[in-house]
Subunit: 352 residues, 2 copies
DNA sequence: TGCAATTTTGTAAGCGCTTACATCGGAGGA
DNA sequence: TCCTCCGATGTAAGCGCTTACAAAATTGCA
């Protein structure tokens, strides 16, 4: 097996990457060092001598080198990417959570993949699958309404996850959020304490959204305890929009006076504000003609006439804490499942 | 150079990837074929026989295989990732553009990296750099207010980009949007036609936001043409919030009657709604005491008292068209720079 | 001054995939 | 029947990086 001819015929293998940007190898060449040293200069600066380091940095700068994440990911089995699945960007609640998430994560060098489920478990699954392909190291999900397949997939990939916007120590998944039933029980009690006994509800859709289900439950249980009736036909459920709020109010206020509700609990501020604007148009006085409450404390809620009785949760903080929890899980994969309860704040205003 | 001993001592090289999820190689092994065939079965199904294909799919399913994007990216120099940089998620305008973007892109198998610049060029640059590291194939940016470095970086990486939310055929970058000056000129004319001559402006911050600058210019030029004065101390600029809108209105309405404006042009609906709510609190009649207009046509703008005169652009469509344009640029790298002008719609309501 | 301990740098394998090229086995034409 | 052609499959290189281990350079200390 002596070396006779040229052992490697000049097959001229592919040259796919055009003249595109520089590689670590080229930086190494320009700096006159090995690729290992360049890699270390960037990832473990203190394992490289001062002189060498500045020589390498200069070369990198000169070539305008930007490291290739795919190469890094393949070699190190780390991507520094995290994923977040939210219902929709079209809602400032979730947008603000994402903001908190990004602020909590980027100082640690993580980039965020964002997916919207539009309240559909299957869509969420698709998003998660795409994220796993891209090697996300962890995933944050809003709520718990996802198919089992999704959680099984996560487990199979050993990808940690955190559920945000809910607090549920009974769950085998880490959660960061609050008790939706509890805060709606509080809102309900506020109405009861103001002496109301005839209730109606205007709520957003509940299917595929256990948070709304929890809110409804909180209201129902509290009313039941107080032995206050809640006629089922006065529980109006539809889109969580201004329009549905307005339409629902008109419907409720068209009822015969004997059964007309004196207190209306809305599933969020948007519904309540829609109702309030309809009340104004109908010439009704709030809270004289009826009391109303919302949830979220959107910016406009303190400017309505009258200002809206509501409650708020710091959604930026929810995102921020979810980020922290994710970082902890990433650091210690076998830590026990954590739960963090945040406290919503009741905002007592004139609409009750 | 004869082969004497074992040429490759059992060094037992690293075994980094734990027992993590399956690789294409394992799928190949289970199906009893080469890795090349597995790859083809997924990427070029028609280059593989029917029987083989189903055998491979079965094996993949059995192992719960999810392809590794890093490996694919490295081998194919394609990532199927695109990036989008928006000022902030905290604004439904941009959130809706992102929604349009995702809807336009995901049918084509692209995933989206999202970055927020918070109206800061440097922050945008950081985001873009991170995206380039991750090998995005193209980037969509809101507006044109970015440092030159950013565009140079993009050019160096041969990464196509599209600017959204503006239309400017004079720019050497593709744009999808509308003329901010033009629509504000129209809004201004609406006031003029209603007979107003004494104007004030309530606008969001203009630095680092050429769109707001364009809007202001549109107003100023139109007023100048009509020889209507615009005292500089009645151009109020601050945060684009309800609060600033409300505060500004109070300030304007506290002016001596002789100089008090009869028409107020706001840079967006939020400012106008803030002003409107303050007017209500002050017991002022709109449009009797003053006329006011906004921009965006937010959901609530038709429910204010009175409903707000405004204009709207279909932001979902902006995102959608930006996606299409990006796809075209991706398909044909050397296509000439395109510009798409979308038309905002004037929404004439009772506040003028 | 000499040698071990320590730091700094180099060598080269391999991460999971795609793809140029080689090979193999019919099908079809002469 | 032989040969060509073509479709299906295999072989193996290499994408850009990290890192275990080896080698070299430097330091510390007796």
């Amino acid at each position: 097996m002596a070396a006779t001819d040229d052992p490697n015929p000049p097959k001229r293998r592919r040259r796919r990457t055009g003249q595109s940007s520089a590689s670590l190898g080229q930086v190494a060449e320009l700096a006159g060092v090995s690729t290992a040293t360049v890699s270390r200069a960037f990832n473990n600066p203190d394992r490289v001598s001062e002189a060498m380091r500045s020589r390498i940095f200069k070369a990198a700068e000169q070539l305008n080198w930007v490291p290739n994440a795919a190469g890094r990911a393949l070699a190190s089995a780390r991507t520094r990417i995290l994923g977040a699945v939210i219902p929709t960007l079209d809602n400032e609640i979730f947008a603000r959570q994402v903001l908190g998430l990004q602020d909590g994560l980027s100082p640690h060098g993580y980039t965020l993949f964002l997916g919207c489920s539009r309240y559909c478990g299957e869509a969420a699954l698709t998003e998660v699958r795409a994220m796993l392909e891209h090697g996300v190291e962890g995933i944050m999900l809003v709520g718990r309404d996802y198919p089992d397949t999704l959680f099984r997939l996560l487990r199979a990939h050993r990808t940690p996850h955190v559920l945000s916007y809910i607090y549920d120590p009974g769950l085998d998944h880490p959660t960061v959020g609050f008790r939706h039933d509890e805060i709606f029980a509080q809102l309900t009690r506020a109405h009861l304490e103001a002496g109301h006994r005839r209730f109606a509800l205007i709520f957003q859709n509940v299917e595929g959204n256990s948070r709304v289900a929890d809110r409804l439950r909180g209201v129902r249980e509290t009313l039941a305890e107080a032995a206050a009736p809640l006629p089922e036909d006065q529980v109006l459920i539809g889109e969580g929009t201004l329009q549905f709020g307005a339409d629902s109010l008109r419907r409720l206020m068209s009822l015969p006076e004997a059964v007309r509700p004196s207190a209306i609990i809305c599933g969020n501020d948007t519904l309540a504000i829609g109702a309030l604007s309809m009340a104004q148009r109908m010439g009704l006085q709030v809270p004289k003609d009826f009391a109303i409450s919302g949830f979220d404390n959107t910016a406009i809620s303190e400017m309505t006439a009258p200002p809206l009785y509501t409650a708020e949760i710091d959604n930026y903080l929810v995102g921020r804490e979810a980020a922290e929890m994710m970082l902890r899980r990433l650091k210690n994969r076998k830590a026990p499942v954590e739960h963090l309860e945040l406290q919503p704040r009741l905002i007592a205003r004139a609409s009750i």
